[in-house]
């Protein structure tokens, strides 16, 4: 086990972890504010990836092959369009399926979310068929050389995107009025409403942000693992959900930490233990962490009062 391979695995782990972290942010924000597990989140990722795929394959013939604009414009348009599609999708899902259940028991909302997830998967299956699409990465397949290390652009973009998103989100929840409203709603819905905060609009906004992040995650995920099928989103969705719980669900830094750790553990487990057992190792670590810290790494332990 020499140092170079170790660094290589670490960077790959960080890249995968960044993608998990971006997905986990969507889970954790929705959970923190609406107190629901949005199981359809993984499928929003898939829709985002398809939106980007079709935009890019539709636009790339318009540009001269090999030119700078051919490399930049379709990719940029794909990312923006897929964010728009996912934002609209997230808000529509929230309005149609989750809003009527605001007062319903949490299990009813969970089952509805599962229904939405099935719906998205099967709609995608009908629209785009089950045969996999080969996603063109949004950045070139080149590599950046840092001394003896070579880092692919996709890896780099994923890490950078994750850092930018984290900084923006922290600023947003900390400094803006909407961010304050979000924190207030997650603390106490009733009290927030009494203070004149529009709770429904805040929840819709959370879904919009979460879904836009899902679009970015979808594009990054498919740039790193280019096979795109209607079920592409489900396993990363489950793992990102695990990451959110790992870091302490409801906490934004927790989602980042959980996602990064999960990605690194997964890459190391498949490198040093066994590829087939990497998922088992990831979940095993999760269980151990939850036993030691039952509210996740950065989660707040809420004392029960009698």
């Amino acid at each position: 086990m020499d140092f170079l391979t170790l660094m290589d695995y670490l960077i790959r782990g960080l890249s995968l972890g960044s993608i998990y972290a971006i997905i986990a942010l969507g889970y954790t924000m929705v959970y923190g504010i609406a107190k629901m597990l949005n199981f359809a989140h993984g499928d929003v990722i898939m829709v985002g990836a398809y939106a980007c795929f079709f935009t890019m394959s539709g636009m790339s013939p318009m540009f001269e092959a090999g030119s700078v604009s051919a490399m930049v414009v379709p990719a940029l348009a794909g990312v923006v369009l897929s964010m728009v599609v996912c934002t609209v999708l997230g808000v529509v899902i929230e309005g149609l399926a989750y809003k009527p259940l605001r007062q319903a028991p949490s299990l009813a909302v969970l089952i509805t979310a599962i229904g939405v997830s099935y719906f998205l998967q099967n709609a995608a299956l009908l629209l785009w068929s089950s045969s996999p699409k080969y996603f063109t990465p949004i950045v070139g397949s080149g590599q950046l050389r840092v001394g003896p290390l070579s880092i692919s652009y996709v890896t780099l973009v994923a890490i950078v995107a994750c850092v930018i998103i984290m900084v923006c989100l922290t600023m947003f929840t900390g400094k803006t009025k909407m961010g304050k409203a979000m924190r207030a709603v997650s603390e106490d819905k009733g009290a927030a409403q009494l203070m004149g905060i529009n709770v429904n609009r805040t929840i819709s906004m959370t879904f919009a942000i979460g879904s836009a992040l899902a679009a970015i995650a979808g594009v990054l995920l498919c740039s790193a693992y280019p096979t795109l099928t209607p079920t592409t989103g489900s396993m990363p969705g489950i793992k990102a959900f695990t990451a959110a719980v790992f870091g302490g669900i409801g906490s934004i830094p927790g989602a980042l930490l959980g996602g990064l750790l999960l990605g690194i553990i997964e890459i190391f487990a498949s490198a040093y233990i066994s590829t087939q057992l990497s998922t088992a190792v990831v979940f095993g670590v999760l269980i151990v962490v939850l036993l030691v810290k039952p509210a996740g790494l950065l989660g707040k332990t809420v004392r029960e009062k009698v």
Binding site: P100, Q103, L110, I114, Q121, L126, Q276, I287, L291, V306
Partner: protein, 354 residues
């Protein structure tokens, strides 16, 4: 009739459930015996899975409805039952020639082993609560799935051969390969029958009703309703939650054996997260803690995708829409108010007649 009306509400509900299952069984058996074509080839193939899923739904309802803990990994117990139970059936092929007896032994083996794993998993899991418990059960379900995908097990004259990750079983002549890693379980000989399924459902009902309507069951429900209050009157929360969890795991294991032995071959991916969710859907749609609701929901939702075959490609889409609409409708305040009014007016009528 008067005696029925004066009966305890729980007794009436359990009698109704028993009657429901027995009547359904008798009708289906009569149809299969006397009518040409039986119950139709589609339903015929689904009979054993329906029984397995009903048992799974009952088992999960014990955990989610009665004990109040959300489990997202129950398919894991089903797969332990399916893999180990069906392996036991395969290994005993020469020892017990009678298929029904072998199936019974296999189901007992599957139930005991799944119950044992339920106990092992329950020790850490039941210390947590709420969504954290749910995610850990999900994690265990996934771990069981990826471990079972890499197990190779065979049997020959010199005993069992076991290996992990790579096939090193090296069976002697006449040996039987029981579990073949990612290829799953083979040689089940399809010994499951509808009658065995019916008996399993009845056993599950008897076990669950006797547990729920006992001192133990009331203690379990007390820990669900208020953990702290239950602890304060001397109920050991972990112990009673464990009783519910292990019972449920054992029933799920037996259901898994029944299901597994009805298939020619099956893999561990059959019992993934989606299967756990599917069973949870049965439980929630049937009503938490409501056993006959689980029976009906499991049967109806297993048949629904088959019945929707005429929609061909659209059937899973229709299934998803039905699921969402049912959840929206059952939680709609207007509809709930309507049913509440209906119920009160019916009760008033009954009160007037006496």
């Amino acid at each position: 009739m008067i005696r029925l009306a004066n009966m305890n509400k729980t007794t009436r509900s359990s009698l109704f459930t028993y009657a429901l299952v027995i009547v359904a069984f008798v009708i289906i058996q009569l149809l299969r015996t006397f009518k040409d074509g039986g119950v139709g080839s589609v339903l015929e193939g689904q009979l054993i899975p329906i029984c397995a899923y009903i048992t799974m739904a009952l088992a999960l309802n014990l955990v989610v409805g009665v004990s109040g803990e959300l489990s997202l990994g129950h398919a894991g117990f089903m797969s332990i039952g399916a893999f180990l139970g069906c392996s036991a059936a395969g290994a005993l092929v020469h020892v017990i020639p009678s298929a029904p007896l072998r199936l019974a032994v296999a189901m007992v083996v599957g139930a005991i082993l799944a119950g044992f794993f339920g106990f092992l998993i329950g020790i850490p899991v039941l210390r947590l609560n709420g969504d954290y418990l749910a995610i850990v059960t999900l994690a265990f379900g996934e771990i069981i799935k990826s471990l079972l995908t890499n197990v190779y097990l065979g049997v020959d004259e010199s005993g069992f051969h076991f290996s992990f990750l790579t096939d090193k079983t090296n069976l002697g002549t006449g040996g039987i390969q029981l579990i073949k890693g990612p290829m799953g379980v083979m040689n089940t000989l399809r010994i499951s029958s509808f009658i065995a399924g019916f008996i399993l459902v009845m056993i599950a009902l008897i076990v669950i009703f006797n547990l729920v309507n006992s001192r133990t069951g009331r203690a379990i429900m007390a820990t669900r309703d208020n953990r702290i209050a239950a602890e304060s009157i001397g109920i050991s929360v972990t112990k009673y939650k464990m009783i519910a969890f292990v019972t449920s795991a054992a029933l799920a294991g037996a259901a898994g054996t029944l299901y597994g032995c009805s298939q020619v071959t099956f893999t561990a991916t059959k019992f993934d997260f989606n299967t756990s969710i599917l069973i949870l859907v049965f439980v929630v749609l049937g009503g938490l803690g409501n056993m006959w609701g689980s029976v009906i929901a499991a049967a109806a939702l297993t048949i629904l995708p088959e019945a929707l075959r005429q929609f061909a490609d659209y059937r899973m889409l229709v299934y998803a829409i039905v699921l969402i609409l049912v959840m929206l409708a059952t939680n709609n305040p207007t509809i709930q108010g309507f049913f509440a009014r209906l119920r009160t007016s019916a009760e008033e009528k009954k009160g007037g007649a006496q």
